[in-house]
């Protein structure tokens, strides 16, 4: 996995280089827009970490040029700008994720992994969290090293949760994606479904947990 981190703060760039390197990424650093363009011109990257306030311009300009060239590379904006309108501007310009400084390195790593897992990204096939793994093509679930048999609905629910680990999946979103199945959905169908999935995961020794936010949705959290 090769990443380009565009960050003008030298120390932060080096810390990114080291921490992401430990997480298994190969990281190139660019201190400004010009350096970033040079790197993007010669090497294919799997993802880009983009600071917005750069010495030679706004990172959003680079992002727009990138999207104008039809580059599909996932871009995560890492910035000190935290206003709602800044987020909207970043996402509108074509960013895939937005993280505000200061941030925790594990969160950055897990967001980068999530970006790389997205359907269009290079690694869209295998979703992993803790000792749970899911192959999005063969639909096989591997729990604590051994195969786990789940119903198609349970599998679909697990995939939704695994695609956005650590974040709340709204009830409505789950309902909508499950409507596509032939069976009609009862009033407490989702509760029953979540209960069954939770039971099976627990029984198979999985260390990730499905949390309920009553009235809102569900969240899959890793053991840490």
């Amino acid at each position: 996995m090769r990443l380009l981190a565009i960050e003008d703060e030298q120390e932060l760039a080096e810390l990114l280089h080291r921490a992401l390197g430990r997480a298994g990424f190969a990281v190139d650093l660019a201190p400004d827009l010009a350096g970033a363009e040079d790197h993007l011109g010669v090497a294919p990257y799997d993802a880009v970490i983009l600071d917005l306030a750069l010495p030679d311009g706004d990172g959003l300009a680079l992002l727009r040029r990138l999207r104008a060239r039809d580059a599909a590379v996932p871009v995560l904006i890492l910035t000190a700008r935290d206003g709602p309108e800044d987020r909207v501007a970043g996402l509108d310009a074509g960013a895939d994720d937005y993280l505000v400084k200061p941030f925790h390195m594990p969160e950055l790593v897990s967001r980068l992994r999530a970006l790389l897992r997205r359907p269009n990204a290079a690694l869209g096939l295998r979703l992993e969290l803790g000792n749970l793994a899911f192959d999005t093509v063969t639909r096989d679930v591997l729990a604590a090293g051994s195969p786990l048999r789940l119903s198609p609905r349970e599998t679909a629910l697990l995939e939704m949760l695994l695609r956005r680990p650590g974040r709340v999946i709204p009830r409505e979103a789950i309902e909508q994606s499950l409507y596509s199945f032939d069976e009609p959905l009862g009033s407490n169908a989702i509760e029953v479904l979540v209960h069954r999935l939770r039971r099976k995961l627990l029984d198979s020794g999985v260390d990730v947990q499905v949390h309920t936010l009553r009235g809102v949705g569900y969240l899959l959290a890793d053991p840490a």
Binding site: L12, A80, G166, P170, L213, G217, L219
Partner: protein, 461 residues
């Protein structure tokens, strides 16, 4: 030393008074002038009339066959002398001033002492003894060796002057007073109308605040006299706006300036080997980061106009805030939920600000709720959002104070208490921006209930 400005003296009242004074003075002066001129005119007319009278008497002199003189006045004139009650007299004299004839037996005795020596002719004064009446005016005419004297009392003149003056008073004042009143009225109305744009500008000035610093006072229709003041105020507003813009930009610059070193610090701490020390340092850095975050949010809320007119669903606001804080709640082993049934609650407000307020209320609850307890969010029409916890609650004397800046509730041992002291102040600020309120009460069975109330429900929603 500068004189203190007289407050409350109205321009139109001042104008009205002065105009009225000028009008009264003008009417008085005009009356005096007219009176004086009329008296002079009457006098000269009167004198001419006296000469005419003497001429008339002279014309009707008839020489009697015995050498005497007889006066044969036409009846109209004779009647005037006869019924004048002594105020109109004539005498006919010979060359030696002996009386040949007279209108009245008394005329000779009355006039004789004043008769001028011949050949003088003209006007002379005739005092009247015995009463206060003004002197009579006499006139001597020499004609064919005879002297004709006529005299007339002043009563008629006075009467004429009086009647002229009262004519002037009635018709003159009757005309001048309405004209004066009209002038005063027109002056006041002109000032009123001229100052109306100033009132519009004042109303606009009353609405100027940091939230609409781009506003300027309207200059259209302003009289030239006050235009310099209004354009100076507008120039001052423009300078203030520039200052405000600089200050607002400072919030953004401060964000970058503070967050980048904090990001370096956080990344470095994340790089430390695990241990009690690393955990403590990370917690400190997180707290500092939160303080910076809240200060900037506060600055942004104060500095920028908040559009609170968007249609917002309080349920969506609650769901968003709960989703954002779910990982924190899970880490703390606290069950976070939205109370059923939660139908959409449409309000007018600002989605981002309300989500921030809800998140701060939930964060506050999570900071005080013991592990294993539940924090519930409840929404209700027309615009209520409640956050209920099972923490220690808020003591009565602190219930108002905790919404002030940098104030904490007493933190019981065992709760995380990582607030920076601005979270609830931000909620109060957002509530105020929505013409709403936030408050805390005791919860039955223990704990606290924070209630955010939004002012304006959607009409008909």
């Amino acid at each position: 030393m500068r004189q203190p400005a007289r407050a409350g003296s109205s321009l139109s009242a001042r104008l009205a008074w002065r105009l009225a004074a000028v009008m009264v003075l003008a009417v008085g002066l005009a009356g005096a002038a007219v009176g004086w001129r009329s008296i002079a005119t009457i006098h000269s007319l009167d004198d001419a009339a006296l000469q005419g009278l003497a001429r008339s008497v002279a014309r009707h002199l008839v020489r009697a066959p015995g050498g005497g003189i007889k006066v044969a006045l036409p009846p109209a004139l004779a009647v005037r002398f006869r019924y004048s009650d002594g105020a109109m007299l004539y005498l006919v004299l010979d060359g030696a001033n002996h009386v040949l004839a007279g209108s009245d037996p008394a005329a000779g005795t009355l006039l004789a002492p004043f008769l001028p020596r011949p050949p003088a002719a003209g006007l002379f004064q005739v005092p009247r003894a015995g009463h206060d009446a003004p002197p009579m005016v006499g006139y001597l005419r020499r004609d064919h060796g005879l002297g004709i004297v006529v005299a007339q009392g002043r009563e008629q003149r006075e009467a004429l002057v009086n009647s002229l003056m009262s004519d002037f008073m009635v018709t003159g004042l009757g005309l001048l007073l309405p004209i004066g009143a009209a002038a005063v009225l027109i002056g006041v109305l002109t000032i009123r109308a001229g100052l109306r744009p100033l009132r519009v500008a004042s109303a606009a000035a009353a609405r100027v605040d940091p939230a609409n610093a781009g506003m300027r006072l309207p200059q259209a229709g302003l009289p030239r006299e006050v235009l310099p003041l209004v354009s100076a105020v507008n120039a001052a507003l423009a300078r203030l706006e520039r200052g405000l813009t600089v200050q607002r930009r400072f919030a953004g610059e401060a964000a970058h300036a503070l967050r980048t070193p904090l990001a370096v610090l956080t990344a470095r701490l994340d790089d430390l080997p695990e241990g009690a020390e690393a955990v403590a340092l990370r917690r400190d850095a997180d707290r500092m980061a939160r303080l910076v975050d809240q200060m900037l949010k506060m600055a942004r809320l104060e500095g920028l106009p908040l559009d609170t007119s968007q249609p917002v669903d309080l349920r969506a606001v609650a769901v968003e805030a709960i989703s954002d804080l779910a990982p924190l709640a899970i880490r703390q082993g606290i069950e976070l939920s939205l109370k059923d049934p939660a139908a959409p609650v449409p309000v007018r407000g600002n989605h981002a600000a309300l989500a921030l307020a809800a998140a701060n209320l939930i964060e506050n609850a999570l900071a005080y709720a013991p592990p294993g307890s539940a924090v519930e969010v409840e929404i209700a029409p027309p615009g209520t959002l409640r956050v209920l916890d099972r923490g220690p609650g808020v003591a009565e004397p602190e219930r108002a104070r905790i919404f002030e800046r940098f104030q904490h509730g007493h933190r019981p041992a065992g709760t995380s208490g990582n607030g920076a002291g601005l979270g609830l102040a931000i909620v109060a600020e957002i509530a105020a921006a929505h013409r709403g309120s936030v408050g805390v009460a005791e919860r039955g069975g223990g704990g606290a209930v924070f209630t955010l109330q939004i002012g304006r429900p959607v009409a008909g929603g």
